[in-house]
Symmetry: D2
Subunit: 138 residues, 4 copies
C-alpha cells in the first residue's frame, strides 16, 4: 500500500463543526477520508482542465433503440474507437428506452471528442460525460 503521512490543519472551530455535520450526513468514516476526496476531486478537475496525461471517463447515454438503426450506429462508432473504449454497460429501461454507459481511457482531448460524437448521435435523448482518473492519484 501507499506510504501514509500526517499533517495538521488549522481551522475555525465553527467551520469545523459544520464540516463534521456534513461528513456525518454523507457517511464518511472520518475527516481524513472526506478531505482526501475533496483533494482528489480538485486534482482530477485540474488534470482534465490541462488535458495532461492518460485519463479515464464515462459517457452515459439514454436512447430509444427503436430509432432507426441507432443501436447499430452507436456500436459501429464505438468499434471505430476500440482503442479508447474499454467497456460498455447496457440497461433496458423500458420497452423503448435504453441506458448505455461507455468507459473510455486515453488522452483527455481524444476522449472528449469521442464522447461528443456519441452524445451527438441522432436519436440519443440525453448524454453526459464524466471525467475521472486512472486511479494513480495516491
Amino acid at each position: 500500500m501507499a506510504n501514509v503521512v500526517r499533517f495538521g490543519v488549522s481551522i475555525e472551530e465553527r467551520l469545523l463543526e459544520r464540516f463534521d455535520a456534513l461528513i456525518a450526513e454523507k457517511a464518511y468514516v472520518n475527516r481524513s477520508e472526506a478531505l482526501r476526496d475533496l483533494i482528489r476531486a480538485s486534482l482530477v478537475e485540474e488534470q482534465w482542465e490541462k488535458g495532461e496525461g492518460e485519463v479515464v471517463g464515462t459517457v452515459t447515454l439514454v436512447y430509444d433503440h427503436h430509432a432507426s438503426d441507432l443501436a447499430e450506429r452507436l456500436t459501429e462508432s464505438q468499434h471505430s474507437h476500440h482503442k479508447e473504449i474499454v467497456s460498455t454497460l447496457h440497461v433496458h429501461l423500458d420497452a423503448h428506452n435504453c441506458l448505455e454507459v461507455v468507459v473510455l481511457r486515453g488522452a483527455a482531448a481524444q476522449l472528449k471528442h469521442i464522447a461528443d460524437g456519441l452524445i451527438g448521435t441522432k436519436g440519443v435523448k440525453h448524454g453526459k460525460f464524466v471525467a475521472t482518473t486512472t486511479g494513480e492519484l495516491g
Copy 2:
C-alpha cells in the same frame, strides 16, 4: 414512434453561423438534432433540481480493490439498495485500481443519498454522480 411537429426559430444570422460551426464540429447531423439535445438537457436539469418523478442516474467510482475489504463493503452497500440499483459495470484499470459504474433508478433524493454513500465509502478515490432521465422525455 412519437408524433413529430415543426416550428420556426428567429435568430441573428451571425449567431446561427457560429452555432452551425459548433454542431459541425460536434458531428450533429442537423440543427434540429442539436437543438433537441439542448432542450432535453435543460429539462433533465430542471427535473433533478425539483426532485420530481422517477429518474435515472449513474455513479462512477474509482478505487483500489486492495484497500481492506472495500470491494466487499461496496457490494454490501449496493445490495442494501437493490431496489434502486439496477446494474453495475466493473473495469480493471490496472493491478490495483478498479472503475465501477453503478446505474440507479428511483426518486431523485433517494438516488442522491445512495450516491453520496458510495462516493463517501472509505477507500474510494474519486466518485461522480450523473443525473439523467428514464427516457420518457419525448
Copy 3:
C-alpha cells in the same frame, strides 16, 4: 476573530505531493488555507442544494442596451425585487454590449426564481447565476 482549532489529516504521501503542487500553482499560502476553501465550497454547495437559510448569489448578464427598452425592463424587474436585490454593477463592454452583475440576498428558491427571470429576459445574450454565502461559514 473566530476561535481556531487544529486537527491532523492522514494522507498518502504521493497524493499530498500532488496537492502541494496544485496549491503552489494556485498561489495558496499554505495547505490549511487551501483545505478551508475546499471545505467551505462543499458546505456552500450543500446549503444551496437543500435550499436552507439565507443565502447570497450573483447574476452576471451580458446584453445589448440597444435592444428595445431592455435596460428599462431589467431595471424594472430589479426594482420589483428590491428586497432581495442588494446592488448592481454595470460595465460598458463596447458601443453595444453591457455587462451587469446583480447581487441578491434571501431564500435560495426565491433568488433562483429572480435569477431565472433576469436571465430569461428577451435580449439578454448570456446569463449565469453564482450561489455563494452570507459569510457566516466560519
Copy 4:
C-alpha cells in the same frame, strides 16, 4: 441591429410541450428567445474550453474584512492586473463580511489565473469564477 434569419426545427410533440412548460416557468417571451439562450450558452462554454479569443469573466468573493490586511492585499492584487480588471463591486454583507464582484476581460487562460489568485488569497471564504462573453455572439 443584427440581421435576423429564420429556420425550422422538427421535434417530438411531447418534448415540445414539456419545453413550452419550462420556458413559461422561466418567463421566456417565446421559444426563439429560449433557444437562442441555449445556443449562446453552448457557444460560450466552447469558447472557454478552447481558450480562444478575448473573453469576459466575473469573480465573486466573500471575505471578512477584519482578516489581517486582506482588503489591502486584494486591492493590491487587483491593481497588479489593472489591464485585465475592469471594475469591482463591493457589498457590505454584515459587520464582518464583504462580498466583492470583480469583472475581468482578456485571454481566457490569463483570466483563469487571476481568478485563481484572488480566490486563493488567505482569508477569502468563498470564491467562484463565471465565464461569460464580450457580447459579440450575435
